[in-house]
């Protein structure tokens, strides 16, 4: 018998190495097409199984140090999590529905509003629970991830930061970003090993200050200049000034969005570069411009093909981020299997508040 050898990489050593993504486009299209075909006969419920299959594929094709990841989550878990969240939100709408049928004009607002308020308040908790579910269903070398701590405490912390934000003229944003990242990451586990976060506000403060100064400057400029320009003009000149003002506002919004995106990417990079577990430090070679380019490319691809190129976009996204993920260090041999019991169902509220089944 001739055995075909696959050359396994040596165990993680001190040298820095990149993650490897070996996924292809066609298998994603197979999942995509089956999902489209089964969307109507299953009222969209097959999507959960398609999502689980897709994640299984991505993670099976992502390898660190020659060893692939494994996704063990199932469509059933996603479906049950979703149904739980949908039932919860419908239940919240019941008082409002009863009131509307009794002719109370406040009922409609209550039926629409209460679930939205709940989604807003529980949003950070949902993100936390979603992360815990994902970690508990991800394995590498047979070892499970996990997460300790409380999602509700995390939500409280996140909203607490939001409450003090206006009093700091939004200078607390980078403090919030780093504090929440530390809270999350230090509660993540790989087997028995806790993740560690060594990030600092200093590393992202500059990016925030630049964005803040530019935005505040433009806003102030617009507010200060507008009356002076408009009062000095009549007729057509005034219309032109108002038009310019509107163009200015749109520019401000676009530029503002871009500045906030740049800040978010700076935080993402710093967070990943400051995370380590069991002697292994993570890092990313993805650049701010590269990530923005990648996002634009995906938006264009999906938009231009009315969504038909979504598998291509997903593939490019995974390849881009996975192949720029780096690890350095030596894996601690004392790691044992996780004893944490993961959640029974997955990502319900995250899904319900986001896009749903269709």
């Amino acid at each position: 018998m001739v055995a075909v050898e696959r050359s396994w990489e040596p165990t993680v050593g001190l040298a820095r190495q990149r993650a490897l993504y070996s996924g292809e486009i066609w298998p994603l299209y197979k999942i995509f097409i089956v999902k489209l075909l089964l969307a109507i006969p299953t009222l969209g419920f097959y999507n959960f199984w398609a999502a689980a299959k897709e994640r299984r594929y991505h993670l099976a094709n992502l390898a660190l140090d020659g060893d692939p990841f494994e996704w063990t989550g199932t469509g059933g878990e996603l479906a049950i999590g979703f149904l739980k969240a949908a039932a919860f939100l419908l239940l919240l709408a019941v008082p409002g529905i009863v009131l509307t049928f009794l002719g109370n004009p406040l009922g409609s607002a209550l039926a629409q509003g209460l679930p939205l308020v709940a989604i807003f308040l529980l949003g950070p908790a949902a993100a936390y629970w979603g992360l815990r579910y994902r970690l508990s269903r991800t394995r590498w070398r047979g070892i499970r991830g996990g997460m300790v701590g409380s999602g509700l405490a995390y939500a409280l912390r996140a909203h607490g930061w939001s409450l003090v934000m206006p009093f700091t003229l939004f200078q607390a944003v980078p403090f919030r970003s780093i504090d929440l990242a530390r809270y999350r990451i230090s509660r993540m586990r790989f087997g028995t090993a806790p993740f560690e976060f060594s990030g600092s506000v200093r590393a992202v403060f500059g990016a925030w200050l630049a964005a803040w100064l530019l935005l505040a400057g433009m806003l102030l400029g617009l507010v200060a200049l507008a009356p002076a320009v408009v009062t000095g003009l009549e007729g057509a000149g005034m219309i032109a000034a108002v038009g310019l003002g509107i163009v200015g506002l749109i520019l401000l919004e676009t530029l503002g969005g871009l500045l906030l995106l740049v800040y978010a990417i700076v935080v993402y990079r710093h967070t990943l570069n400051s995370t380590s577990v069991a002697g292994i430090s993570f890092g990313t070679e993805a650049t701010v411009l590269g990530i923005i380019g990648m996002m634009l490319l995906q938006i264009l691809l999906v938009g231009a093909t009315f969504g038909l190129a979504r598998p291509v976009a997903t593939h490019l996204n995974w390849r881009y981020f996975a192949q720029r993920l780096t690890v350095t260090g030596e894996l601690d041999a004392a790691i044992r299997q996780s004893k944490l019991k993961g959640p029974g169902s997955g990502e319900g509220l995250l899904e319900a508040g986001d896009i749903g089944v269709l």
Binding site: W8, T42, L43, A60, D67, G75, L90, L358
Partner: protein, 350 residues
């Protein structure tokens, strides 16, 4: 020479170590051996199953039910083929896995069909009678608002009043106590609706196309819906459809306008239509009116259907031929409206 076994990678499920391994099958066990010949683990062949989908180029992961955290990875397709030859049990495990996948898809489709059947057919007839009448008023108002969004309601006048008087006389003959409100909608469609909250909307197109007997017959049919509380069922159906849509789109919140939209879209069940026909005949007779008009209307619709294709009435009120046959052709009674009333009805929308 002894076969070296299939090259593989082994994770023990306890530590994060990755072991080089060789796989052999013998004595009902899958032997996972280190290159030096030491046994890393052995799994009963019947408990070995694929872990993951096994599409693509590999590696292909195996798990054992007896030690769920451990994994064996076979690197290549060739290795997997060799493993399949070595342990036919794997084929069965894979087949079971595929069947499970198919069961989920079929089960999902069946559950979805069941949910739709429940929402459209079962829930309305069970829960409909439990809906208090006072709940229907806001839905009815919202439904009228929707119907009147593109075409205005005609102004109040003797024509509208004549229709409403006849509707209430017919309803009273069956002991219906609440006042029925009838409105005329300015549109050329040939149709009439019973709306939740004891309301009826007659479209101007019906008044233009029908003669007095036919109009009285159709009105009696809609009164039949009102007194049998079919609107209760349609509100429950509308609620169910909306709840289903909310769940599918992941949206939150339900309100009366959404339910009303569903009420406008959905027609009554065929059983409800036939019941309304029977009540219409009974009520017309009890008032000494001819039933021939309703019969003639359905017969005419059937012919129109042949000429024009799908008329609006036909799309919401199916099988007009059978229904015409079920209605007695009584020409002996009085007309539903006086000459003056009919003139007023014809000119109700100016």
């Amino acid at each position: 020479m002894i076969a070296p076994g299939i090259p593989a990678r082994f994770y023990d499920g306890e530590t994060a170590a990755a072991h080089e391994a060789r796989l052999h099958a013998s004595h009902g066990q899958l032997w996972i051996k280190a290159p030096d010949g030491g046994t890393l683990a052995r799994w009963p062949l019947g408990e070995v199953e694929p872990s993951g989908d096994w599409d693509g180029r590999g590696p292909f992961a195996l798990a054992s039910r007896s030690s769920p955290d451990a994994r064996v990875l076979v690197a290549t397709r060739e290795g997997l083929a060799e493993l399949r030859r070595m342990m036919p049990e794997l084929q069965r495990a894979q087949g079971a896995r595929r069947r499970r996948g198919a069961t989920i898809v079929l089960g999902g489709a069946f559950a979805a069909a069941l949910a739709v059947f429940f929402v459209f057919e079962v829930a309305p007839s069970w829960l409909g009678p439990l809906v208090p009448p006072s709940w229907l008023e806001p839905v009815g108002n919202a439904t009228i608002d929707l119907l009147a969004a593109d075409h205005p309601l005609c102004a109040d006048g003797p024509g509208r009043q004549a229709l409403q008087d006849l509707a209430n006389r017919l309803a009273a003959s069956r002991g219906h106590e609440d006042e029925i409100r009838v409105d005329i909608l300015e549109t050329s469609d040939v149709n009439a609706f019973a709306v939740p909250g004891d309301r009826i909307v007659v479209l101007q197109g019906l008044i233009r196309k029908a003669d007095p007997d036919e109009l009285a017959g159709v009105l009696a049919h809609e009164v039949g819906h009102v007194i049998e509380r079919h609107a209760h069922e349609s509100v429950v159906r509308g609620l169910g459809v909306q709840a289903l849509l909310q769940i599918m789109t992941g949206g939150a919140g339900l309100d009366v306008a959404a339910v009303a939209a569903a009420v406008v879209q959905l027609s009554y069940s065929r059983a409800a239509e036939e019941e309304a026909d029977r009540r219409a005949v009974e009520m017309l007779r009890s008032q000494g009116l001819r039933t021939a008009g309703l019969k003639r209307f359905f017969t005419r619709l059937e012919k129109l259907e042949g000429e024009l294709g799908a008329l609006k009435w036909l799309s919401t009120h199916p099988a007009s031929r059978e229904r015409a046959l079920a209605i007695p052709d009584e020409t002996g009674g009085r007309e539903g409206f006086s000459k003056a009333q009919w003139l007023a009805i014809r000119s109700a929308c100016g």
